[in-house]
């Protein structure tokens, strides 16, 4: 079972005070820690588990800048065998289709049985790249997988729907699956583990190598004319209770007693 794995790096913004760049097109990322996209981490683990069971090779691919090699090394440390980085240059300002096109032009020449991607990414949250890629490669796909079972050249994918409901769908091989969080428990990656794969070579690809018409990617190829980022509009919002922990809790206790009928 040869697997191609698409991953990306995203800034961790959970507790960050995000600042928007002056041109309004992006956020300031300098002070933010870059991490593997949560959904992709589950995808890496799933690929490694499939490999452990059925053998084969995992090729992990990212499209990003040099720093994004970190997520590739991380995937190698978890059990991927080969890594490819498609350099970001020329892809800046791409819409999801532009990114999928970059991945497509590398993947189309590789042998594979399965492609795994995260269901979405934590930054822009388009949830498009995996399915677009399947469409370009003309292979069947299923999104939001929470369980994958391989049986006689067929894959049964359990998809997560809403309200604790799921569906099983059957895919032939080759096919593409996007991974939902919680599908497995991703293994821990130690610093030592990453150091061990430090010397593995990461193959690099550049836009010029890929025979993609340059007007199909980047801002030129994007369906988006302009994008303006802004802080959320000031809504009604919560009444923020201020004071010392003592005071705050006194008030909270009052509210809970009153509204909860304690």
């Amino acid at each position: 079972m040869n697997i191609i794995l698409c991953v990306k790096q995203v800034p961790d913004v959970t507790e960050a005070d995000i600042r928007i760049k002056k041109d309004g097109k992006d956020i300031e990322k300098e002070d933010l820690e870059m991490v593997i996209n949560e959904w992709d981490n589950y995808a890496v683990e799933e690929a490694v588990r499939i490999k452990e069971k059925y053998g084969g090779k995992i090729t992990v691919i990212t499209l990003g800048d040099e720093e994004s090699e970190d997520v590739l090394r991380r995937a190698l440390a978890m059990g991927a065998d080969e890594a490819i980085r498609i350099d970001e240059e020329g892809f800046e300002g791409s819409d999801p289709r532009g990114i999928a096109l970059g991945l497509y032009h590398v993947i189309k020449d590789l042998p594979f049985d399965l492609i795994l991607t995260g269901a979405q990414s934590a930054d822009m949250g388009w949830a498009q790249v995996g399915v677009l890629l399947a469409g370009m490669l003309n292979i069947p796909y299923a999104t939001l997988a929470v369980q994958i079972e391989i049986k006689d050249k067929k894959v049964i994918v359990k998809r997560e729907l809403e309200s604790n409901t799921f569906e099983n769908v059957e895919l032939p091989i080759p096919s593409l699956i996007t991974i939902q969080s919680g599908i497995n428990e991703p293994r821990y990656v130690s610093v030592l583990g990453i150091r061990r794969v430090r010397k593995l070579k990461i193959e690099e690809k550049f836009l010029d190598d890929l025979e993609i018409p340059p007007d199909k990617v980047g801002e030129k190829g994007s369906i988006i004319e302009s994008m303006k980022l802004m802080p959320p509009p000031e809504g009604k919002g919560a009444e923020i209770i201020e004071g010392s922990i003592e005071e705050v809790c006194e008030r909270l206790a009052q509210i809970i007693k009153e509204k909860g009928g304690l």
Partner: protein, 317 residues
């Protein structure tokens, strides 16, 4: 024309269909246009439910369309587009739309913007509003000019109501199923033996801010003390720290307790869908910019582990 793809599953038309039709009505106020519902498979009875909400219903019926699968849906939607030439096509940003929309976009060359919380058409150009970075930033998007646009709309964003009643005419399009590579097998509903959080009066809910499983007893004891039930956001259930039956949100449970106390939960839309109708929402979060504060009634910007012991004491008395 605005074409809204009706969403249904297991004999039920889903609310988000009407939410999209209400958004369509608003868009058509600014740029006058017919509104049509596209019903693929499903039950004939759905037609009556949709009639008041649109000018046309396009019905494509076939056993292959009863349960969603992308390939027959693509073929049916292509037929409907050819027959109606819509300017804008709307699908829900649900497990259904997330699966289908990018496929349509690729196969039918439709420019697609996913997960919109607002959509407008001015002089034939699409503009949308999205939330990015877990809802901490908004992004206003204007698209280049195209003949046709495709959007997915975030569920739970619009009221499923319209201002003016319409009366739809029905058009049926015949459908000849082909052979497809992906096959729907079955639905599965997981029954887990556990308490039902949706019937609790007071819910104490923990998010990723809980940090590690060793911290859960601290909150469990607090919840027990005040007679509350312990629930969680998705990452806590994903990691197996609490059972899946405790997860609140779009893919978990919907709850409406008297009090929902959110501890270390950022407030993503998928979480909000499951708890925003709680009578009183109290949020404790270290980050003053956490989106949960936009929907909470009361907020405390603090470390939950400093708050819990003191609050527990206060409630004991």
């Amino acid at each position: 024309m605005i074409l809204v793809l009706a969403e249904h599953r297991r004999g039920e038309l889903r609310d988000v269909t009407f939410e999209m039709l209400s958004l369509a009505e608003r868009i058509s106020k600014e740029s006058p246009m017919e509104i049509a519902s596209l019903l693929l498979g499903g039950e004939r009875g759905f037609i009556d439910k949709l009639k008041d909400f649109c000018d046309r219903i396009i019905f494509v019926d076939s056993p292959e369309l009863k349960n969603y699968s992308p390939e027959p849906y693509l073929e049916a939607i292509k037929k409907a587009i050819d027959a109606t030439s819509p300017k804008l096509i709307m699908i829900s940003h649900s497990s259904f739309g997330m699966d289908l929309a990018p496929f349509l976009s690729e196969k039918l060359s439709l420019p697609l913007i996913t997960d919109c919380v607002d959509v407008s058409l001015k002089e034939g150009r699409l503009a949308t509003l999205r939330q990015i970075y877990g809802g901490k930033i908004f992004s206003e998007i204007r698209l280049k000019p195209y003949e046709r646009y495709l959007v997915t709309v975030r569920p739970g964003t619009f009221e499923p109501e319209i201002r003016e009643k319409r009366s739809a005419s029905v058009m049926e399009i015949p459908f000849q199923a082909g052979t497809y590579k992906r096959r729907f097998l079955e639905y599965i509903e997981e029954k887990i033996e556990d308490i039902d959080i949706s019937s609790a009066d007071i819910i104490v809910s923990i998010g990723r801010g809980i940090g590690k499983p060793e911290n859960i007893p601290i909150v469990q004891e607090f919840a027990d003390e005040i007679g509350a039930v312990l629930a969680c956001s998705r990452p806590v259930a994903d990691k197996g720290w609490l059972p899946k039956s405790r997860q609140v949100g779009i893919s978990g449970k919907t709850v409406k307790p008297k009090i929902y106390l959110a501890l270390g939960i950022s407030g993503s839309f998928q979480h909000q869908v499951g708890m925003k109708n709680s009578k009183t929402i109290i949020a404790v979060n270290k980050d003053p910019k956490a989106p949960i504060f936009n929907i909470a009634h009361y907020g405390v910007v603090a470390d939950m582990f400093q708050v819990i012991p003191v609050l527990k004491e206060k409630l004991k008395k």
